[in-house]
């Protein structure tokens, strides 16, 4: 499966990015290059989970406000700064949805859906796809996060691991287990006698 490789950076890029972070810790105005670099990625992440574009813009701004006010707590761990921003974005999205009682959006990407159907070894017909979409929509939040990041946002396991604060291998294993679970639930739904 092809993944979106924008996240990955060379060790030199990571170190130079960390210099921006250190500069921003001393002077918030110096945060601007990081803001410009990651604004679009964070907005897309937030927008994929929220119905309203205005809400997505507000939450994106809040992600950066929070990141800047808590920047002193950030520690470089050899991964892109964006993984920290994504974690803040994740919690801001949930907080906003909780506060406003709005729907949590699950944006299913058709190409990604094809990969899921393929992984489940099922025929790619409309009926199967609809059933799988329903099953994905019922997954617990942590499992849904992983599936949407992997298949609908085309993130690599390395990136998913860094965003969720788990190892790349753990992300792979968890994803495999979720697919196995979907496979079982699919069989039960299509053949209730099993």
């Amino acid at each position: 499966m092809q993944t979106n490789s924008r996240f990955h950076q060379t060790p030199e890029q990571l170190l130079s990015e960390n210099q921006w972070v250190e500069a921003a810790k001393l002077n918030p105005v110096r945060f601007e290059p990081l803001y410009k670099k990651y604004y679009e990625q964070i907005f897309r992440y937030v927008y994929n989970r929220m119905e309203d574009v205005e809400d997505a813009l507000d939450v994106t701004a809040m992600v950066f406000v929070k990141a800047m006010t808590k920047l002193n707590l950030y520690e470089f761990r050899g991964v892109p700064f964006s993984s920290w921003l994504f974690r803040i974005a994740m919690s801001e999205v949930y907080q906003h949805l909780k506060d406003t009682s709005k729907n949590r959006l699950v944006n299913v990407d058709v190409a990604g859906m094809r990969d899921v159907v393929d992984e489940l070894n099922e025929d790619e017909n409309e009926e199967n796809k609809q059933l799988i979409i329903q099953l994905i929509g019922k997954l617990p939040e942590k499992e849904l996060q992983l599936i949407e990041m992997r298949y609908f946002e085309k993130r690599s396991y390395k990136e998913i691991g860094e965003i969720l604060g788990i190892s790349e291998n753990n992300a792979k294993v968890r994803s495999f287990r979720i697919l196995e679970k979907l496979k079982r639930e699919f069989k039960v739904s299509t053949n209730p006698k099993i």
Partner: protein
């Protein structure tokens, strides 16, 4: 939390998204938060704390 599933939702263009950037807004929010926190911190600083003690003693005296 209720969920809503959409399929292949239209995502705004890169240009549109980047046009929404407003670093000044973010930096102003950060500064106002910092001012608030430092004001709050000042109120509990030793100098202000001694003022509080004086006020409390005066209130106690007049009661």
């Amino acid at each position: 939390m209720k969920r809503k599933i959409t399929i292949n939702r239209n995502i705004p263009s890169k240009n549109w998204i980047n046009a929404q950037q407003d670093f000044n807004f973010v930096i102003n929010r950060v500064n106002s938060k910092k001012n608030y926190t430092s004001k709050l911190r000042n109120w509990f600083s030793p100098t202000i704390a001694s003022n509080w003690i004086t006020i409390i003693l005066l209130i106690a005296l007049f009661n």
